[in-house]
Amino acid sequence: MREAGFVISREDWSLHPKGRLDQARHQQKVKEAIRRNLADLVAEESIILSDGKKVVKVPIRTLEEYRFRFDPGKQRHVGQGSGDERPGDVVARETGGSAPGRGPGAGDQPGIDYYEAELSVDELAEMIFEDLGLPNLQQKRKPELVSTGHEFNDVRRHGAMANLDKRRTLMEAFRRNALRGRPAFHPITPEDLRFKTWDEALEMQAAAVVLAMMDTSGSMGTFEKYIARSFYFWMVRFLRTRYRQVQIAFIAHDTRAREVSEQEFFTKGESGGTKCSSAYELALSLIQQRYPPDQYNIYAFHFSDGDNFPSDNARCVKLVQELLACCSAVGYGEIVNSRYATDSTLMSVYGKIDHPRFVRVTIREKSDVYPALRAFFRRQATDLAAAAMVGAPAGPWR
């Protein structure tokens, strides 16, 4: 081939991973960028309303490769028209962040100033929950060993024919035949048989219950309900993914409290006055009936706009203290709509409660939801030991 001046070759490029490695690094940087924007994403409508199924698109501004360049919007571009354009004709329109190829330009793509990362709600949840945990988790009773299924994780020479590992059996037969100089899958002899065997996957039952209380009175506007629901949306997701055995009780209240289904809790709107004590009373009675504190880690969270009947406030303080006596943590989130910012009532009276397991959060805008989650599910160093003891983060017990 030398004299012809060319060579054609096809080599093995399977060990050429650079593109993938740098791609992984890029992906990692995208995630870091998302992580920095979590506060905004947590209360993102498209995610909360997505039913947890959708892949969401997250605009990331940080992964642009910045350099000195001309402002494409102020440049004179040259493009190819169809022949009937006249000066002054409008030939394209920018819509939001324009997509490649929509705006004109000599070979470049003006107008794109962000990179859209796609990620699933699960991935997002994973990042949000990264260092969250149930606070003050304690061992409440003897850990119960619960079998959660079987895991095939070994291969043996004997076993039930139903568990025959066909691939390995064939490989054994092939190897044995090959050793005798006749590489073939036949014949198969009994000593070639290989069987899969299993272990029972055991898991500790974490005994915990979350009492999710929400004010659904008339004063809770769309914004307030939205905030409360997005908090609970992530809370429920968080508890379900991290703790397999956590129970959640949903309590909605106006002047009266009632236990509702999850579906109702997240969708129904109500109206009427507000008596927060009703919710606490119901919570306490549920604890009494169903969740004895010596067996359960109990968490009580309440969201309200703080607009309570003033005469009810003293009773609320008393009940919160009762809850604190039997709960691992009690949280109160007050959603303040800046439009009608008044001197809040409930938050101010709760300000006097000084208890290490009582957490108060004020939410003024969507981006406060994430800090609220972090405040309520702040895992303390001492909890880690307890959590390990109870086997709280779900996973097979070995």
Partner: protein, 518 residues
């Protein structure tokens, strides 16, 4: 491609290479590599089979690969400017597609070998880049991936700010300058001194200067008069680096020990690499590598339309003369049509370059009345002329000299401007189109930014100036790029440009941005 197809491609290529040579194409020895898609896209993203690691290449790789996977666009080939010339063919192409690609690629190789702008590029860049990759990987091991990535982020942000056409001597390293200031031996004069002197006289346009009488661009009293002379620049690292390591805390320097570029210096990356007191030797080395690679790619940026046009011209010519079966002829026609398909409101460089080469050949072969009288063309020189053009022009000259009225009209080229959210046709006049396109292609379409003062305000700060030619900078990008300059310079940095007709100074001090309208 099956092995049988590969053999046929080989036989066919042999014939094609002979024919292409007979037509006058003069290319490097060719190495065709048939590769799977992700290798092709990795070469595309990195610009080279082996190059240092950086997430931005991963991002490009990901985008190309995704577009390929979703069948949105595909690259058929990639050619590396090297000797021998490496061309990567997609394994997934049909035999017929790869035949056309081989013809296309031979012309690219001819272009690399003969266009004057490529004369200075290293033919061993593949090996150089592989060596760079290894050296940078070693720095990662030694100084940490994070530190190297941070440095590369900054270096790559400035990679376009180099000077591919240096005319005078580079700004001198520190010692020599100080030596000169201390009254060191007189320099030998050269026959070119008067030319260097022109740079100073013509340098920053008088218009700009008159508009900004108080800006730092005007020479301050006490500045050493310019003296031109050819000085080889010392390689980075070594003494400069060693000195810097010990000198971190010695800023600001005593008065009188000022250091400037002797005239505005376009090669920002080199200036920083040589004169930043903040960088360590290994960091200078990385900047030098990034700069070397950027300079290697620069001619490709400047000749995109010509290079693609040339390759398209030749695959069309070579294929036209082949005897093809019906199915194969149809596939070639379809593929060629795809390559030269007009993009709505954008320019397709393959189409534009191809059309211009065709038009040049036609005019010089059969000149019209006007060309005959005005240019004195005798006719019959078509082929000769296009070979000359491919050798002597870059895109700017290609457009300026050969984009004719009839081509602008035939291709329906227009100029477009943005008003509010709308893109409007500004002009359909052929000269306006030609001039606008040439203006856009100037300096590879990249703003010219020069180092005005390396000791701005006597505080060791860096003053850059955008050589404003009517096109304003992207301020969003500007404010995010300045921190990278700061990252490398280690002291506050400033950039002077024009925003909405007003001289504006952008400053970044490591923490916050400031904008001052002069």
């Amino acid at each position: 491609m099956t092995d049988r197809e590969l053999l046929e491609l080989e036989r066919w290529t042999e014939r094609l290479v002979r024919r292409a040579r007979a037509e006058g194409l003069d290319f490097y020895e060719m190495r065709f590599e048939v590769v799977p898609a992700d290798v092709l896209y990795s070469v595309g993203a990195y610009g080279m089979p082996t190059r240092f690691s950086h997430w931005s290449f991963g991002k490009a790789f990901h985008r190309m690969k995704t577009e390929y996977d979703y069948n949105l666009s595909r690259i058929y080939e990639l050619v590396v400017n090297s000797d021998p010339c490496y061309a990567f063919l997609l394994d997934g192409n049909t035999l017929a597609q790869n035949k056309l690609v081989v013809a296309h690629v031979l012309a690219h190789s001819d272009f690399f070998k003969n266009n004057w702008r490529f004369a200075g590029t290293s033919h061993f860049m593949m090996d150089n880049m592989a060596a760079h990759a290894e050296r940078i990987a070693r720095y990662e091991f030694r100084y940490g991936k994070e530190a190297v990535e941070r440095l590369l982020d900054a270096a790559l942000a400035l990679a376009e700010q180099v000077d591919p056409h240096p005319v005078g001597p580079p700004s001198k390293p520190d010692d020599e300058e100080q030596e000169a200031r201390a009254g060191a031996p007189a320099r030998p004069s050269t026959p070119y001194d008067d030319l260097w002197e022109l740079d100073r006289l013509l340098g920053p346009s008088p218009e700009d200067q008159s508009r900004t009488p108080a800006t730092p661009a005007t020479p301050r009293p006490g500045r050493r008069p310019l003296q031109g002379r050819a000085v080889g620049f010392a390689p980075p690292g070594r003494e400069a680096g060693r000195r810097a390591e010990g000198q971190r805390d010695s800023l600001p320097r005593p008065a009188g020990a000022r250091r400037h570029p002797v005239r505005p210096e376009k090669d920002l990356l080199r200036f920083i690499m040589q004169h930043s007191e903040y960088l360590e030797a290994w960091q200078r080395d990385v900047l030098a590598m990034v700069r070397e690679e950027a300079l290697y790619f620069w001619p490709q940026i400047e000749t995109k339309i010509m290079n693609e046009g040339w390759a398209t011209y030749w695959h069309a010519v070579l294929m036209r003369d082949e005897e093809l079966g019906e199915a194969e002829a149809l596939e070639f026609a379809r593929m060629h049509a795809g390559v030269v398909q007009p993009h709505r409101l954008q320019l397709n460089p393959y189409l534009l370059g191809w059309k211009i080469f065709q038009s040049i050949e036609a005019r010089w072969e059969h000149p019209g009345e006007e060309d005959r009288t005005r240019l004195g063309l005798p006719g019959g020189q078509g082929r000769e002329k296009i070979f000359e053009v491919r050798q002597l022009e870059t895109d700017v000259g290609f457009i300026r000299n050969y984009l004719t009225r009839s081509l602008v009209e035939e291709l329906h080229l227009v100029t477009l401007v943005r008003r509010g959210d709308e893109w409007q046709v500004e002009s359909t006049g052929w000269q306006q189109v030609r001039d606008a396109l040439a203006a856009r292609l100037a300096n590879g379409g990249i703003p010219v930014i020069v180092v005005e003062d390396g000791d701005y305000d006597g505080k060791g700060e860096l003053l850059l100036r955008h050589q404003y030619d009517g096109q304003e900078l992207d301020l969003h990008h500007l404010e995010r790029t300045l921190p990278y300059v700061f990252e490398l310079w280690g002291r506050p940095v400033h950039l002077l440009t024009v925003v909405e007709g007003k001289q504006t100074l952008f400053s970044y001090d490591g923490e916050s941005h400031q904008r001052t309208v002069a």
